[in-house]
Symmetry: C4
Subunit: 263 residues, 4 copies
């Protein structure tokens, strides 16, 4: 009788915990809750590193950390238990098999940091790996189509993007060498070596421009201006490749759907 | 006789005030004037917050504010009156019904701040909500087609844009955590916590680079350089998605027009 | 005899000076020279404003300025003379008619600044208008096709670009108002009014980030971060529209060529 | 007997050293090693310019430099020797002919700097030219298709990109002249001449914004804001052109493959 009741609970829980077994569209309420706890966990860990937040809220943060740790531990045990619903992971041997799937290992990784180190210290930051679990919950409907689009676009044009990156690296090397030669004698602490000039080059070619390092001589400013203009090209190239790749990926997807309707 | 005259005025005014009832293309002269007054109102409110402008022009600004307030009040009453031209809003009950439409409530919102608070103080800023009224005047011809294009493009690729945003957030979290670990001990006031490092991360990944916060150690600069390069990808992704989405939206619109011509 | 010789010279000069009458492809050697002199003139005017360049090179700059002024005067007279080759501008009345064409007026504008003011002073800068003449030389072959592409792309999607601009302005107004309220009390000299906060808003939304003005309070940094992320969208939108518009313009052009080949 | 053995070694070495003769896909193991040594050489030269790295690692850097120099010399001699496998470069005269090919000259250029100058001094930087050799190894499979895509896209739309660049230059000239007139009297050391204002213009129009130079007067900030907005357009234009060009290049390539399959 209790066994039947347990089996029924296990089945319902399986539908709630498994992303693919949930009969309706979207995430199950329980998995939505899990996602919220994961994000909350990340936010708490992040904020706990800030002394001006940690000091006055110390007790609450530790309490929240323990609560989340326990919740994840319970969730892990439940997932292990309901895994038996899947014929593949039936019985004790099945459960051990399940425990060594990537998914279960990621779940375990979300539990472990809690036991490894308490609030404070660098081990505490291992809790950030919990974010990876979001990915295991994310393979659903529109979301997974969009993910496929982005993956396809990047994969299809991987070589072009890599070449654009290589070109950027070459421009970085050339411009940094030129600035080292031109501006190095004027500002030896900032442009006195190629690696130092590269710090300028990166900030310039990505158009970030922190402003901690820039040429002061007229010739240096002239060479820098040419690099600045090259930066536009270096940004336009990957963006253009991505745009064309996405256009391709969307059209391919549309065609696949049309073909499916025709047959 | 006066009733007939009034009815004629009401009809003509209705054509002038209603965006859809105006027989010719574009906005009616009266609605153009309303649009100009709305913009003028926003500009005046904005400038009035600047002491170096407000002090010498105090009297003129208050006068303009009162004038605009009265004009909007008159306009609101007129709109309420001419609403009866529309069979749906006929009679007193129709007017009350009209007064509770989103449009009429927005118009009322444009009048209210004038009575709630005079120049100066934060309530004064509520006048900025008048800008929303521009939107109610904007649903016209080419403008609404362009609006549809942008809406369609964003809506169609909402999921891809959301994923690109999520990816950016993950890169932000990772790079900020790395910089907190690497640069935190060197500049504890700037990189001493993940939220602090995130302020650097946002300025870097969006390529803004205010320059108030940047790494000083060699290892920090190296990690920052990798983040800078990632920034290009994070900007290229949404731009590429938007480009492909607009390309799609324009072609769909073109096809719709062609189909209409064929039938 | 001399008349015949003059007529022959005039004809040859006409072919050299007129952009459309030149029988071969590209610009005629004389017009290439004119283009070089225009660019040289701009460069000299620009450099002459820099005291560290002007002082040591004063004599040479004045000499170059006079030479270029005389060359442009000669060119203007020659253009007036050879205009008679075109049946439309024959005879004295034709020449007067020619002198009032936009082209001839632009050429005159290139000569006048030389007589109006010598080196130094703001009138001197009128010489920069000579740049406009480049445009009259530029309507040629591939160049004019490329110009048509850009014009078409911008024109076709003018409304979408305008809407994207309007959206950017609304985001600028909102973010500046929020920062004025949040950061104003902390940094009254920098965020103490909406126009001042707009200076921050422009530098942030265009991702320039000079770094002279940025929030210092935690809440201000949070609001700023959201604006930074919005900036990516505001840049992605016009870029995406342009990409789709260019894609359209290129394909339309290709189709036009194909249709021409079919008939 | 030894001759036969040597011939066999020469043939195997030829397959390893020649990019096109290698029977399998991708680079041969030996050429991969050469590529790694080239990159290592660049990294070492770059790091050697940094005193804080050079001083403690002096002996190791010099040792690595000599080793790489000797390796490149050996590689050059081997390439000269195995060139005879190619019928075109058989015998002594063939080898001399080979030595004057672009490829062989580049290889020689990679060896020479080692003999011209030792570590330290500007001649030392000539070693950076070794990077060019990477290009001679890079003409392979997917890589060369991607390279063709980028080349095609840029070449096809060269004129549009050039026009976009010209437009940017005109906007730079106009905005710099305006800022020179408006902001020059306020900050003569920063905006006191058009070339100085151009340094601001470049940093602004490329959205880099180092922050060493920005307007301080209200009118200057207003003019600067307009330039900032123009910057978005100037970046959107080349990016849009590139996106459309890549879209074209990818589709052309796809069509070529389809046509090949049909025939």
């Amino acid at each position: 009788m209790i066994g039947l009741c347990l089996a029924s609970i296990r089945q319902k829980l399986y539908q709630q915990l498994s992303v693919t077994a949930y009969p309706e569209e979207g995430l199950s309420p329980l998995n939505k809750l899990v996602a919220v706890i994961i994000v909350a966990s990340i936010v708490i860990v992040t904020l706990a590193t800030e002394p001006t937040i940690y000091e006055p809220w110390k007790d609450q943060i530790i309490a929240a950390d323990i609560t989340i740790g326990i919740l994840f531990a319970i969730e892990y045990i439940l997932r292990l238990w309901v895994a038996g619903e899947d014929p593949e992971y039936k019985g004790l041997i099945g459960r051990i098999k399940y425990a060594f799937t990537l998914r279960a290992l990621l779940d375990l990784l979300a539990v472990l940091p809690f036991f490894l180190g308490f609030v404070g210290g660098d081990i505490f930051l291992l809790r950030l790996f919990r974010l990876v679990r979001i990915y295991t919950l994310a393979k659903l409907g529109d979301f997974s189509i969009a993910m496929k689009h982005i993956k396809d676009a990047v994969k299809e044009r991987y070589m072009e993007l890599f070449l654009a990156f290589m070109l950027a690296m070459v421009v970085l090397l050339i411009s940094s060498t030129v600035m080292f030669l031109v501006e190095g004698p004027v500002q030896p602490d900032k442009f006195g070596s190629i690696p130092r000039a590269m710090w300028w080059g990166i900030a310039t070619l990505t158009t970030i421009g922190y402003g901690d390092i820039y040429p002061q001589s007229a010739l240096g400013k002239f060479c820098c201006s040419i690099t600045c203009l090259a930066a536009i090209g270096l940004i336009a190239m990957p963006t253009g490749i991505m745009a064309a790749a996405f256009s391709d990926a969307f059209q391919r997807h549309k065609k696949t759907i049309q073909d499916r309707h025709h047959h």
